[in-house]
Chain length 420, copies 2
């Protein structure tokens, strides 16, 4: 068994000047490492022939497989194809089957004839094997030289993904004998990286050498990934599971899920299991909790709807919040009493079993009270009564909303855990 | 004037196996190119000493400034500091002023004493100048060797940003005499890259050599960026503006804004100017339009609230949609008549001047009608009556929601443009 190394080269000035975030290489990295191919490096270079040629030469010295994305669009900054011709000392030749595919895509999907610019995308380097792009007009290309594989793909994410899944990965699996890497990821919310590190320190230090733990923090959440590398998938899987049991014993309900799960999918499963329904009253989160809940396919099984009560009048007229509590001298919009009334109000209005409410001060400026930016009150109403809790999540506006959303979802999870 | 080149090296296995998307290097790229420093390459490498050392040596041959992020956390996979010691042939020494800062941060912000692990973050390579991190415990580090600058920063985005803005960039501007790069970005929604390319082809071909156009597509939108490089900011600014006037003449109202604007901020300004209010009825977008509207600071000036009517009962009871239209044999939830009733219903319910409604089939499966996944009806209600339009936005669920959101916001923009 060989260790097969790959490098991802992403091409585009827009990546270097920061107008576009490169999400392609992370996705490719995930696919390759899941298949036992180790991504050694990701390199982003400009739309510049000399620079691309240098990056290709360097990557060829480092790795076995080079995946290239970008620079295959129909617009003026297209460059990759011409550079690959120079690298492999060849020329572009028309590929009639690709031209046919482009015509077909245009007529069936875009309901018009392709332009000359579009049709020229069927011209590919003479030494490549075209890789079919089912969802776009820029074909992928597979090259071999001195035992190394070069795969060039468009930069549009869903086109690149189509080619990796249906063409590139199946061919790579045939071509190389790959080692086995098993991952398991544990998801936590509401605890910082160093707090978790202290809890699990002794366990982590005792991990065997072929196993590794990684901390993957994001706003409001930390993911913990155990990996094991070897050659026997069953043995590795058992080792990962056994270590996972120990990790879970240390972290308990701090772990809300695994792998690709999300708080909203975990909650969705809990609600579906008890055939219960959910509604939401959102103020400072402005609809983001509902947005997350409804990103889960099938969420219509339990999610009924929401009221985004940004203006106090909506809190009073739709949710039945007491006007005196909102008025000058009252508890104010960001308070325990208003959070409770919002949750109970939307639960009653939309007739659901459970309800969440969130009211807080997103910033950058406070409301006309003395309350600080970042203050949030969250309430959960359900069969066991209404629970409310205060949080301080001071952050930039977008992160504040995202952290308040996760915090509210996790509070509903704890309510559902307690309420069996 | 010299052309100053930089490379960003991001460190972390989590980037290579795709568990985390590298957003840091795009942000750094934007800051540097705004300051006239050209980012030549972005390189992501593993948490591996030999690999980091190789990347540093290669980058030193390519560029003048090397910015490193990642590998400075308090957890076990910390590695950058030790590698930098080896690279510069030095050792870690305690920095009492950094230790003091860590203690202060813990006591004032986290309300507890730092652990020994936290305090060890004050040990830094002997040859570095510490760069203060105002918002976290991992200090930045500035090194000089053979006329090249090395800047190491933590990977946590807001900590890295604090160090770049307050420490790294001001020092780089002092250290180098930088060229001038002027950018202007034009924002469009609803037209594909190749369609726009055809409209502006002749203009683009005629651009002078020191100016460049880049297409920056994202789901549902294409940004067009004109750049000019030279040494006189006023002259370049005038040239960019003059070319921009020509571009606008070609694209007209297809352009909704500039630079950092968003559809929601543009609409917000239009509504604020006419002292008008907005409400939203969302079905398939599940709260995402409201979320976007409320990401704009000050949106409470015009945004009153929303009803997320995921379940048909909410459409009937809260929005006043006719039950017969939703029932079997009626027009169905995804129809012109229901979209119109939803927009008019929420406008009346929340007493606003304008309202948007969206109803569609997000997929992956259709509702129990014969309507296709991706079908969306959007309506805008306002003083000039209600306008409804049908769209086909078939895509993966998340992108469908995002495209439907942009499409609805843009439809409101066109309504507001017509209704002067």
């Amino acid at each position: 068994m060989q260790t097969v190394l790959a490098e991802v080269i992403t091409i585009g000035d827009e990546l270097l000047i920061g107008q576009v975030v490169d999400t392609n290489s992370a996705w490719i990295g995930e696919q390759l490492s899941g298949a036992g191919i180790r991504v050694k490096q990701i390199t982003s270079v400009s739309d510049d022939k000399a620079h691309i040629l240098a990056a290709l030469a360097e990557a060829k010295n480092r790795v076995d497989i080079i995946l290239i994305t970008g620079g295959l669009g129909p617009t003026k900054d297209d460059i990759t194809k011409h550079t690959l011709c120079e690298y492999f000392n060849t020329t572009l030749i028309p590929h009639p089957e690709i031209e046919e595919h482009i015509r077909h895509l245009f007529v069936s999907r875009f309901k018009r004839e392709p332009s000359e610019v579009n049709l020229r995308q069927a011209d590919l380097p003479a030494n490549c094997t075209p890789l079919k792009n089912n969802v776009g007009t820029a074909a992928g290309m597979w090259f071999e030289q001195d035992g190394k594989i070069f795969i060039s793909m468009p930069g549009v994410p869903y086109e690149m993904k189509d080619i990796v899944e249906n063409e590139a990965l199946p061919r790579l699996k045939q071509r190389f004998e790959l080692p086995v890497i098993i991952h398991k990821t544990f998801l936590t919310q509401g605890y910082g990286e160093s707090m978790i590190a202290e809890i699990i320190e002794a366990w982590e230090d005792a991990l065997p050498k072929h196993m590794k733990l990684a901390y993957l923090p994001s706003p409001g959440a930390v993911r913990l990934r155990i990996s094991a590398i070897g050659d026997n998938a069953d043995v590795l899987q058992q080792e990962v599971e056994a270590q996972g049991v120990q990790l879970e014993a240390l972290l308990g309900t701090k772990i809300y899920g695994y792998g690709k799960e999300t708080l909203e999918s975990v909650i969705g499963n809990m609600l579906r299991k008890r055939k219960a329904t959910l509604s939401i009253a959102e103020s400072c989160t402005g609809g983001n909790i509902s947005h997350h809940i409804t990103l889960v396919p099938g969420s219509s099984d339990y999610f009924i709807g929401s009221v985004v009560s940004y203006d106090n009048a909506v809190k009073i007229n739709q949710l039945g919040v007491n006007a005196a509590d909102l008025a000058y001298g009252g508890a104010g919009a960001v308070s325990e009493t208003v959070a409770i009334q919002m949750a109970e109000g939307v639960k009653k209005l939309l007739g659901t079993d459970y309800a969440i409410s969130v009211t807080g001060i997103a910033g950058p400026t406070s409301d006309n009270t003395s309350k600080p930016v970042g203050l949030v009150w969250i309430a959960v109403a359900g069969p066991e009564g209404t629970k409310a809790k205060e949080f301080m999540l001071k952050d930039i506006r977008e992160r504040f909303v995202s952290r308040a959303t996760l915090t509210a979802l996790n509070m509903l999870r704890y309510y559902l855990l307690a309420d069996n």
